[in-house]
Symmetry: C2
Subunit: 379 residues, 2 copies
């Protein structure tokens, strides 16, 4: 099997599954229980939190465990909006965000907030002057994706953060679900909130992280027992938390030793795709190493996906979270790609485990599939 | 080890951990991915949903997967409030709810909703006339716990549901986290929303269920990719979902074959506790079979907990989710228990695996501990 859909989800590391299993088996008490068994489990959570904090170079009390990237994004956005609405009701984001951000903003608009959706250039970046102009004294939040999940474009977070902090009192939230480990981002001083999803770094589904800068207050979407310093209540998913810490450590190790390889695979993939007549590459030049988006105008991407899966090769059309809509990708549209091209897009997303051999097989099979489909469809 | 803290959390069944492990290992694709691997995983989720629906005697499309009981309660309460606020801003609950409901209502009060907190009698039940009087044309939600987590009291859901539906257009939400399998409740026609938590029925932490009657609409707390029919977005925690279905099936089987035993253990426990001079039982007469709450006025419950854990016996003071506050239990206070008694409460919570032998050992060690502590504390 050649799995090239790593932006949808990654295969959990064996060690991660084993850490989950062992924790669920041996440490099942509730970490809030006052007895010794509860204390042992609480210690595990504390260790995992400490380990994650040190890997992300943040403080332990800035780690919030959530149920996934979607919850982290929703908590950052709605949590800021509901908490700080008395300071202002203006929010800024871009036109190429993930559905979990986009839909949060749509909901807030219906509740009376004003949202500016900044356009992006063909490079997927918002313009600095657009951002500076959009900021008002009522702006309480700017939320931007670091690495785009469909095309791999990179937002210049550090520069944008400076503009935000120099011109407003807004909080700055980053969706770094796709960027972590792939495009270096030590969290800048200007950033207040960062979302991560464990199953995108070979951890387990149902687990996410939110970096929350100390002293930033959020309206808890899930309130109750006061876990996670009252920001996110609910009995801690202890085995999931231990597994997430393990996954992050292994993943960042792999990131160090495999980063060059990934860049090499990307070049190879894009050069060879570029040489195929029918292919148009949608991914901008300066982009993350793991995502390559291209179109074959005239061929329905679903048909190509099924042709490739017959050869045990798995690719996608776009974000898994938007895969079932018939609309052309909002990301490609925002990048200025034509409708026909946006409707025929294919996304290849690599992992650090991807090999040169896999890319070669993929390219061979892709060419065969195009040839075959062109005949069938009288291209 | 004698584990008598099953209302805080239960030990996951071995088969449940194994189901999780196997699914995480072999079925890691994203169920929203269009390729075959995604389809296989989507099928697993569909099967788990169908199995849960059939066990709960509801329809598949009435099952919403969440990250736990806290999320289910928050989604039911805030989801109703935000969705239906144009119909009215009055909400009704009781004074003995779980923190995840209580805190949701406190948040909503701060946002301009009016909340009636119905009092309860010494039996932990709200009065029917109080409920009928509280309902107004602005009432959009009544939320009540089926079985109380601290004392095991049972709310007469069916009768209360009739009053609600005959006198209002309010939705009726039940927190059945503690009741499921212990106190029979086929979901009555009058109930619209029911919360469950997997780790309370030997499933895994980080997994919950919300029964949502078809056609009931909720404001999604977590929006995005539109999973769970748009009510709860986020990549499905597939291994957790499969494990939850397995846990529920095994648990309800155990419930059938061990229900009588549990009632017998409860009688034995309460009779023998009642015979100890220093003990006052707080659990009302008609209550759930697994929870027994009692006080030993004058002895700090933490001290007793630690004395028992030296004998490898694990009990608690109250809800794990409220275990770290110094306040007397709000549940016992609402039941009319004195402050001194409410501050010295111990909760024993059994599982279907609990044995008569364990209860006997517990009682022996409890008596020894009381004797010892009385001497130390000059009782």
């Amino acid at each position: 099997m050649i799995y090239l859909d790593n932006s949808a989800t990654t295969q959990p590391y064996d060690e991660v599954i084993e850490a989950f299993r062992k924790t669920a088996l041996d440490y099942y008490a509730n970490p809030s229980s006052l007895h010794r068994k509860g204390g042992e489990v609480e210690r595990l959570v504390r260790q995992a939190r400490g380990s994650i904090a040190s890997l992300l170079q943040i403080d332990s009390d800035e780690v919030v465990f959530t149920s996934g990237g979607t919850e982290s994004n929703n908590l950052a956005i709605k949590g800021t909006a509901f908490e700080h609405m008395n300071r202002g009701k203006h929010l800024i984001t871009s036109q190429i965000e993930h559905a979990s951000c986009m839909e949060s903003f749509r909901q807030l608009e219906k509740m009376g907030f004003n949202v500016t959706y900044l356009p992006v250039g063909s490079d997927g970046q918002v313009s600095k002057s657009d951002l500076a102009e959009a900021l008002t004294k009522d702006t309480i939040l700017v939320s931007l994706m670091h690495v785009n999940n469909e095309v791999g474009s990179i937002q210049p977070i550090k520069e944008l953060g400076t503009i935000i902090k120099e011109n407003s009192r807004a909080l700055f939230h980053i969706d770094d679900v796709q960027g972590i480990g792939k495009v270096s981002l030590p969290i800048p001083d200007t950033v207040d909130l960062v979302s991560y999803s464990a199953h995108k770094f070979h951890g387990l589904k149902g687990n996410g992280l939110l970096y929350k800068r100390r002293n930033v207050s959020l309206f808890p979407l899930l309130s109750g027992g006061g876990q996670e310093k009252e920001v996110r209540s609910g009995t801690e998913n202890v085995p999931g938390i231990v597994a997430t810490a393990k996954a992050l450590r292994l993943y960042l190790q792999q990131s160090q030793s495999n980063s060059e390889k990934l860049h090499h695979l990307k070049s190879k993939l894009q050069n060879e795709l570029g040489a195929i007549n029918e292919v148009v590459i949608n991914t901008p030049r300066n982009s993350a190493p793991h995502i390559t988006n291209f179109s074959i105008p005239g061929i329905k991407p679903e048909v190509l996906i099924h042709a490739l899966e017959e050869k045990d090769i798995f690719v996608s059309t776009r974000s898994a979270c938007s895969s079932k809509t018939a609309e052309p990708s909002h990301v490609l549209t925002a990048l200025g790609v034509s409708n026909a091209r946006a409707r025929s897009a294919i996304r290849i997303s690599l992992s650090f485990q991807s090999t040169e051999k896999e890319i070669e097989v993929f390219l061979v099979e892709l060419k065969k599939a195009i040839h075959k489909l062109k005949q069938v469809m009288r291209y």
